[in-house]
Amino acid sequence: MSGVGDARQLSGAALRGLLARLDADGERAVTEYESLRHTLQQFFTWRNALDPDACADETLDRVARKLYEGAEVDRLRPFVFGVARLVLHEEHRRVAAQPARLTDGVALPAGDPAVDEDANVSLADCLDRCLAALPPGDRDVVLRYYRSDGRGHISGRADLARELGVTAEALRSRVQRLRNRLEACTTACRQDGATPARKDGPT
């Protein structure tokens, strides 16, 4: 690999190889890739990585490169898991080796975006803006999903699922996708003070 151009070609070819390994059908391969990436994000979050998204991307990059270089992999997901554990181990060592700044009692590496985040705009304000930017149907689903009875219980999700003609798990998955959008939106809003552009269409 001699330069940036070669690196990009390698990366693109490696990614195509990974997708082909996930599924011969292009669309199903993309769906499988997104599912795998989500699993990685959850793994790194639950194992307390400071930047789960970056760790997930690093893992997938390494897996793609290994496949491109001809590594023989019998079962892909266990292989991905093994690479993820290594990336997690390296991440923990990297964090432990860096000088720490303290925020909210947690030592974070200097320059970590979580440390530098501008919190001038409150989460509630940003969430209001981000909810307003959702399509009305999605917004209604989210707000009904989190409606509490005021006595420490959240009820009505089974009814909501029936009303929408979906299973409870499908409803949860839909709300989780909406949450992911809202979390990304509120993070951007709090950092930049930006008002999210309205998006139409189903999730």
Partner: protein, 273 residues
């Protein structure tokens, strides 16, 4: 063998052994349905925390697992905000705004681990510009007798004269592991109007924190102030104190977490009224 929901919760709380956690992770990497079960369990766990239906032990474990990790705590805060938004959307238009729910859920226990052997004393010194003072008490005269309330001014001060000078009022509050906001022993200080300089004296075990950075973070706004802890003048070499001087206006009324850099187990809760 199917994984019981209780084990999923224990995984989320970091209570599984390393081997058991690795086995579960290998399993959910290969099984999206299992991963979805863990996500559902996390959703229920976060909601139970915010709706204050967790028992004390689980609540404490939750805070230990989630509070220090930004990506995990962001999920809690997002859920909290969604619960509040849903409550606001559900109320009649004429009703008064619903208080954001469960803001104080994590206040139930101070973030001092059970393993901390001895109490750390947090002494708050209030400089009151409108009081005429005798010479400011030296640091060595900081009150060491703990008092339950942080608001009492110095009763021995001279009556006001034409040109009032700052009068330091020293109050000591003792925090212990398992402290709750509601048991009357939390650290509270009444902030008078106008600028007030605040001096935090970290007593017991405080000497080892001298030279470190201390962060005071508002729980609701996230606003932070950072400053150094310095050794208290005249401190007994065997002892125990470091001082953090917080300038006037740096903190306002609200609930705060006081944390010491490099000592993740050293946290204090402070209410400024």
């Amino acid at each position: 063998m199917a994984t019981a929901d209780i084990d999923l919760r224990r995984y989320l709380l970091g209570q599984l052994s390393g081997e058991a956690a690795a086995d579960l992770e290998a399993a959910y990497f290969d099984d999206d349905a299992l991963r979805a079960r863990i996500e559902r369990e996390e959703e229920l766990l976060i909601e139970a925390y915010l709706l204050e239906t967790l028992d004390a032990s689980t609540r404490s474990a939750f805070e230990r697992a989630y509070r220090p990790v930004p990506a995990r705590w962001a999920r809690v805060e997002t859920t909290r905000a969604l619960l509040a938004a849903a409550a606001d959307a559900a109320r009649p238009a004429s009703a008064s705004p619903v208080a954001r729910p469960a803001q104080a859920a994590w206040w139930r226990e101070a973030w001092l681990p059970a393993g901390l052997a001895a109490a750390a004393a947090l002494v708050l010194a209030m400089w009151q510009p409108w009081r005429v003072a005798p010479a400011a008490q030296p640091d060595t005269a900081v009150a060491t007798a703990p008092t339950p309330d942080a608001s009492a001014p110095d009763a021995s001060a001279a009556p006001p004269a034409a040109a009032p000078a700052p009068l330091p009022a020293m109050v000591s509050v003792t925090l212990t592991a398992g402290l709750t906001r509601d048991n009357g022993a939390s650290a509270r200080v009444d902030l008078p109007p106008g600028g007030t300089e605040l001096t935090l004296v970290l007593a017991r075990d405080g000497a080892e924190w001298a030279g470190r950075s201390v962060t005071i973070r508002n729980v609701d706004t996230g606003a932070e102030w950072q400053g150094p802890a310095r050794p208290r003048r005249g401190t007994d070499p065997a002892g125990t104190a470091a001082i953090v001087e917080v300038p006037a206006g740096a903190v306002n009324r609200g609930d705060y977490v006081v944390a010491v850099a490099g000592a993740p187990d050293a946290r204090f809760v402070l209410r400024i009224r």
